[in-house]
Amino acid sequence: MALSRGGDISEIYSEYRITSFIIMEEDIIKETGESVSSGLGIRVISGEKTGYSYTNDFSADRLRRAALAAAAIVQAGKSARLSRFKPAAGPENLYPLVRPAHQASLQDKIELVRRAYSSCQKADPKIKKVKVLLQDNVQHISVVNSEGWSGYDARPQVKLICTAVAEKSGRREYGFSGGGGRVGLEYFEKTLSPERIGHEAAAEALLLLEAVEAPAGEMPVVLAPGHAGVLVHEAVGHLLEADFNRKKTSIFWDKLGQRVGSSLLTIYDDPTIPSFRGSYCIDDEGTPPRKTLLIDRGVVCSFLQDRLSSRLMGLPLTGHGRRQDYTCIPIPRMSNTYVDRGQDDPQDIIKSVVKGIYAEKFEGGQVEDSGKFTFSISAGYLIEEGRLTAPIRQATLIGTNIDILQKIERVGADLSFSLQTGTCSKDGQEVPVTDGCPTIKISRMTVGGRS
């Protein structure tokens, strides 16, 4: 029916997701919640045109109307033939769970929340406010399309986050930490304990109480390993998403095979890292994902593809078609994006800076297609004469990507990843992601502090 007026491909995506959460603040379990998201999206593609409709009412009449609404995109034309469905062979199970959160008892989950809360609160009398959230969901998706692809994925997701407010002589500062991923509750025993999450949130707030204003102006910037992956996510990742390049709005559209950055820089996006927040066994178009080399020693190697862009550009699928939920059209997105490790000793990198900043924690960033990007640091240090000195407060850094990529001077051997709590927003759609990087030195960048 979706192809009744013609069209190249039709696709049906259905989703059933159950989410639950627990919030603790002011020393009590304040709220708990459960939500169900259930619905179906129908897409018809004809050349560069996409028709889309969705419904959460599975009655035959509503499904028929949704199919016809999606088909309305096609003016006239030949229908593609329906192929026989064959299931997509994705990677082996990327989510090995011992104690799935969605099957755990409410008492067990509340216990984790209390542990994080009390560890944060007890860290110091200056901690005045603590809030802990535990959220978990399991998302079942299935996709079939008229080319014969079909696929199913059941994706678990957990996150435990803690925020703290510290206060000293009228000054207040905020700290954050968290963890999780596509893991079971055993993660909080084996990998990252609730106590550590609580303690780290407190430590950040306490550190900021002692922080001085960040400097303003151009200076060398050293990115701490892990969290600073947000820089490559903004500066590089988004602009290598295929839709921006197919439309030639990204400054990278004509740079495939060209050098755009320092030869020290190699970047991957890998949706197949087991247990990571951004991973999946099939993407939201039913495509098995691939670890994708984006930048190879400074040279642009590939774009992140969904089906539409891959067809129109004549480039291979990479399995990066993602959507927030059934109400959204899939678009090319990142998953777990990281800068590959380099050679340098992180301590040597810091020693090489006479006056600059060490950017340690981040609260996100933004990029536009022209390559201008920002990211905001929530905590860091001054570097003076090769040593970390005073902690600094919040500041925003801004640059143009190709300029900054060329100014990458040193890359450390100490690759690590950000907290497993990140979400990326594009075209109003939010999806879980992670990013990572080793210690990196940028020779000059504009820092937006106040002193």
Binding site: E25, I28, I29, K30, E31, T32, G33, E34, S35, V36, S38, G39, K49, T50, Y52, S53, Y54, T55, N56, D57, A66, A69, A72, I73, I110, K129, K131, T163, V165, R171, R172, Y174, A216, G217, E218, K247, K248, T249, I251, W253, I329, G364, Q366, V367, D369, S370, K372, F373, T374, F375, S376, R393, Q394, T396, I398, T400, T446, V447, G448, G449
Partner: protein, 448 residues
């Protein structure tokens, strides 16, 4: 996709959930149902790129038992699922802790005349798809005639119709219909490695009030090309003029700092400042849910409390925090009709206009930066500090001299509210959270 007069069935669904909650043992229950239909078309380089037409229905509810709250939501509206969710919620509530501030508000006795709010445009349902596509296509076509424009992000036309129903065990049952329409266009100018970009959007509840394609195209083109060939400037303290769209985020940041939830959680630097001066006498900020036809208007909030007009900053003095029932009880302050889900949200939250025209404000500036766009986050309500990536126009001798890119501005919200020298007369309510052009005496602009 037309909806089939669902109002009665939506009310019945909400009431059924409330009754079910009580039957499973809840002391209080409240259910909200929203039923929407969405149309959007994106046109790029003259061709329709995406056409979305869909409808969906969503339920959310909370139950309170022994002063313990549990929430739930679902787009799966089958009987069996709903019964399970209600039963789970009542059972889950027992795991929480007793919270003496938990609970529903008393029944609101000041009903608002919904028709007078003009939230719904009946014409929206009658507009043909071809007409909507035609408007988007025309908008982009006009802009692309300008040779300085080198690429397009496309033009979009969106129309949404939403019905909201709320039923509560305190006896409240209410519902209202709303429409939202928008026509937008995003453009790029300049060659590959020196691209600049910007956009313009017209938003209104009434389709006929949307700016015509010529206006949307002209504004998008002007905003884009004025940034061509930008310079960097050196790091300095300088006067900064906020265009209305920029004042919007400043006012939005203020909202985050006067939200009653942030106040009782102590996550705002204004938590203990009620009654104190935090801005100069030019600064009056109001939350008003009852202005007819405006984007942020509504008859009642998500708890059924009648919306109203609240003066938040009165000539620089902090007069009110914006509270839902819970924050109000926590702080011993009145609820202000700002409840949204389990938090608070602005209705129409705006900085009251002054009398200067934007041209007069620019002419008064010997040296300064007109802030036209920011990117990134960098707002910290706990301290009031902000730091954002910025784009703008440099002013020299009262006139625009050249565009500026790749700088940051940083400061503190209270410092800004105290240092606003001039408030413009161009408040236009293009967004529910908004303000006119303002000139701030000095902010740190970081550049070279």
């Amino acid at each position: 996709m037309r909806r089939e007069a669902p109002r009665d069935s939506l009310v019945a669904l909400a009431e059924r959930i409330v009754n079910l909650g009580k039957r499973y043992g809840a002391d209080e229950a409240e259910a909200t149902v929203s039923d929407g239909c969405e149309f959007s078309v994106d046109v790029r380089h003259g061709e329709v790129e995406n056409l979305v037409e869909a409808g969906s229905r969503f339920l959310s509810f909370r139950v309170i038992k022994d002063q313990r709250t549990a929430q739930a939501a679902s787009s799966d509206l089958q009987d069996e699922t709903l019964r399970r969710l209600v039963e789970n919620a009542v059972r889950r509530a027992a795991f929480g802790n007793r919270d003496e501030c938990a609970g529903l508000p008393p029944l609101s006795l000041e009903p608002v005349d919904i028709a007078s709010l003009r939230l719904f445009d009946p014409q929206v349902a009658e507009i043909q798809t071809d007409q909507k596509i035609g408007l988007a296509r025309e908008t982009e076509r006009i802009a692309l005639e300008d040779r300085r424009i080198t690429n397009s992000h496309g033009a979009s036309l969106i129309t949404d119709e939403v019905t909201t129903v709320l039923a509560s065990s305190n006896g409240f049952v209410g519902s209202y219909d709303q429409t939202f329409c928008s026509l937008s266009l995003g453009l790029q100018a300049g060659e590959t490695d020196e691209k600049v970009e910007d956009s313009w959007v017209s938003v209104d509840r009434f389709f006929q009030n949307l700016e015509p394609p010529e206006t949307v195209a002209r504004k998008a083109v002007e905003r884009t090309v004025r940034q061509l060939h930008p310079r960097k400037i050196r790091t300095q303290e300088v006067a900064v003029i906020f265009e209305p769209g920029m004042t919007d985020w400043l006012v939005g940041f203020l909202f985050a700092c006067v939200s009653g939830v942030a106040v009782y959680q102590k996550t705002t630097f204004l938590a203990e400042r009620l009654g104190e001066r935090i801005g100069n006498e030019k600064i009056t900020v109001i939350d008003d849910g009852l202005t007819p036809g405006k984007l942020g208007s509504r008859p009642f909030d998500s708890e059924g409390v009648a919306c109203r007009r609240t003066v938040v900053l009165d000539q620089g003095i902090l007069r009110s925090f914006l509270c839902n029932t819970y924050a109000g009880r926590k702080l011993n302050l009145p609820t202000t009709g700002n409840a949204e889900g389990s938090g608070v949200a602005p209705n129409n939250f705006f900085l009251l206009a002054g009398s200067a025209t934007p041209q007069e404000i620019i002419a008064s500036t010997e040296k300064g930066l007109i802030l036209t766009r920011t990117i990134g986050h960098g707002l910290n309500p706990v301290s009031g500090d902000f730091s954002r990536g910025a784009f703008g126009l440099w002013v020299e001798g009262g006139e625009v001299a050249f565009p500026v890119a790749e700088v940051t501005i940083s400061g503190n919200l209270e410092q800004v509210l105290r240092n606003i020298e001039i408030v413009g007369n161009d408040l236009d309510f293009r967004a529910p959270v908004c303000g006119p052009t303002v000139k701030v005496a000095a902010l740190t602009v970081a550049g070279e």
